[in-house]
């Protein structure tokens, strides 16, 4: 698992989701990236209505890791598990219940360019599309700080000025620690939360 950066593509005024996706994918293809299948990330949130100080639990499924599930507490622990996790959580139904409208997913096209993996996805809640995600993974390197130069160069050429100017803080949690799936999932949850918020704000 290499270094992964995920961000939400902020659509320019007057452009719908379909148009934006087409714009970015043509941009990615121009760079020489090859299509490499589809991807899907699903996230379901749980909370414990009777325990007031319980944190929200996010259960994430990523097609990149088909046999794994990720459990992430907001500002809490993180765990990689096998597929039985959802069955396990359903046994805790008496305490932990899925949040209403807590299901959000992200589907789209994967691209490969050298060792880079680019994923463009449409984020949707239920049946309605809410936003666009851009994911960039550089597989061979496991230290975000080291390969940030390359990643930012690649991001510049994909999303232009929306690329972050310097290494985002959520990519380097504890100094120079190795990159882990946890950081990827955290970014997903963050992005999903942001998208949910903006949807509510509108």
């Amino acid at each position: 698992m290499g270094v992964t950066y995920i961000c939400q593509w902020k659509q320019p005024e007057g452009q719908n989701i379909q148009q934006s996706i087409e714009q970015i994918s043509s941009c990615v293809e121009k760079l020489g990236a090859k299509k490499a299948g589809l991807f899907q990330v699903e996230c379901e949130s749980f909370n414990a209505p009777n325990a007031p100080n319980a944190k929200t639990l996010h259960l994430i499924y990523d097609s990149e890791f088909p046999a794994s599930r990720f459990a992430l507490f907001e500002e809490g622990s993180f765990l990689v598990t096998d597929v039985m996790l959802s069955a396990f959580l359903s046994k805790l139904r008496a305490v932990w219940q899925p949040k209403k409208g807590g299901k959000i997913d992200c589907k789209g096209q994967r691209y490969e360019l050298g060792d880079f993996l680019i994923k463009l996805g449409v984020v949707s809640v239920g049946a309605s599309a809410k936003g666009i995600s851009v994911e960039l993974e550089y597989a061979p390197c496991v230290y975000a700080r080291d390969c940030w130069g390359m990643m930012s160069e690649m991001l510049q050429s994909i999303i232009g000025e929306q690329a972050p100017p310097s290494l985002p803080s959520n990519l380097q949690p504890k100094g120079t620690e190795r990159f882990s799936p946890e950081l990827t999932m955290q970014q997903y949850v963050e992005m999903f939360n942001n998208i949910r918020k903006t949807v509510v704000a509108r």
Binding site: G2, D146, M150, M154
Partner: protein, 327 residues
């Protein structure tokens, strides 16, 4: 297959002819011996009762006749012998039949007619022969057009020595270990450890900075193989042996492996150097990759070229450079 059968038929023909020839030869030889056994017989017209002198005369006369017959017979023998020899010469083509050793006995097995083991064996043998032939031709062709690895030799003319002799010649194991230890102390940002050692062969694991790991197979101090892999890739197989053969899953590591192999070739042709020099050069060269992900190309000033970082390092001055940017 059919030509083999035809050949066999031809051989059978020759064989039967040769047998007849041999029989012929035998009978003529027997004639000769018979003649010799009977000895000189007086002529039938003479009565052989004359005196000694007369006998001598008759003997002389009879002897002449006898010698004449003897010569006739011997000529016949000679002729037959020549015939048989000719046959034998023809037969030499038979040795061309596949020499299959014990598997030749397969053809005698009547049940084997149903499964084509013998036939397959013959075919395989033929192909093998052909391969051998081609290989020989190829070798001879290549020997006439030898590629020189180093330019030093080309100009050296008569004084030139043979290409650097194989250096795995009997360095004591202790020396090799010491050399490796010294080398590993000289390198910065790079950790080296020996994963496996059996006899002269050592598998060395080299972690270069936070970039990649390298598996180097050493025979004494000669570099046999270099394999570059990502930090998070498996090196140890499930059965606890070192994975020496599967390429890295990352494109850039595969390309660096290729570059490293050519670096090995480059450094191992350096002349008149202590045996550890090729390895030392290679290690320093590999060490220069510690900035693989952080440094931009010195030629174009960019990080990426077609999705890949600056992968090339010159063998003399190892500065980062894209594959396509090196002049």
């Amino acid at each position: 297959m059919s030509d083999v059968m035809a050949q066999a038929k031809l051989n059978m023909n020759f064989l039967s002819q040769a047998i007849t020839g041999t029989q012929q030869l035998r009978s003529t030889v027997t004639n000769v011996f018979n003649l010799l056994c009977e000895g000189v017989k007086p002529d039938e017209e003479e009565d052989g009762k004359g005196d000694d002198a007369e006998t001598a005369v008759t003997v002389g006369k009879d002897g002449k006749k006898f010698l004449q017959r003897f010569q006739e017979y011997l000529e016949a023998v000679n002729k037959d012998y020549n015939e048989v020899e000719k046959m034998c010469n023809n037969m030499t083509s038979m040795t061309d039949l596949p020499v299959l050793g014990p598997s030749g006995a397969l053809s005698l097995d009547s049940i084997a007619d149903k499964n084509s083991t013998y036939r397959d064996a013959v075919l395989t043998y033929q192909w093998n022969n052909r391969l051998h032939e081609y290989a020989q031709i190829a070798t001879s062709l290549m020997l006439t057009n030898q590629i020189k690895r180093s330019q030093l030799q080309a100009g050296a003319g008569a004084k030139r020595r043979r290409a650097a002799p194989p250096k795995f010649t009997n360095l004591p194991s202790q020396t090799v270990d010491n050399t490796l230890q010294t080398l590993s102390r000289q390198l910065s940002d790079t950790t080296m450890k020996i994963l496996q050692a059996s006899g002269d062969t050592r598998i060395v694991h080299l972690a270069v900075g936070r970039v990649f790991v390298v598996i180097i197979v050493l025979r004494s101090l000669t570099i046999e193989k270099v394999l570059v892999k990502g930090l998070d890739e498996n090196i140890i197989l499930e059965n606890n042996t070192v994975d020496l053969f599967s390429d890295s899953q990352y494109l850039c590591m595969q390309k660096i492996t290729d570059h490293a192999m050519s670096a090995v070739l480059q450094y191992s042709t350096y002349q008149a150097s202590p045996p550890e020099f090729p390895l030392k050069y290679l290690l320093y060269w590999l060490q220069s990759y510690k900035s693989l992900f952080t440094d931009a190309c010195t030629v174009c000033g960019k990080h990426l070229d077609n999705g890949l970082p600056p992968l090339w390092r010159d063998f003399k001055i190892p500065v980062p450079c894209h594959d396509s940017c090196r002049a």
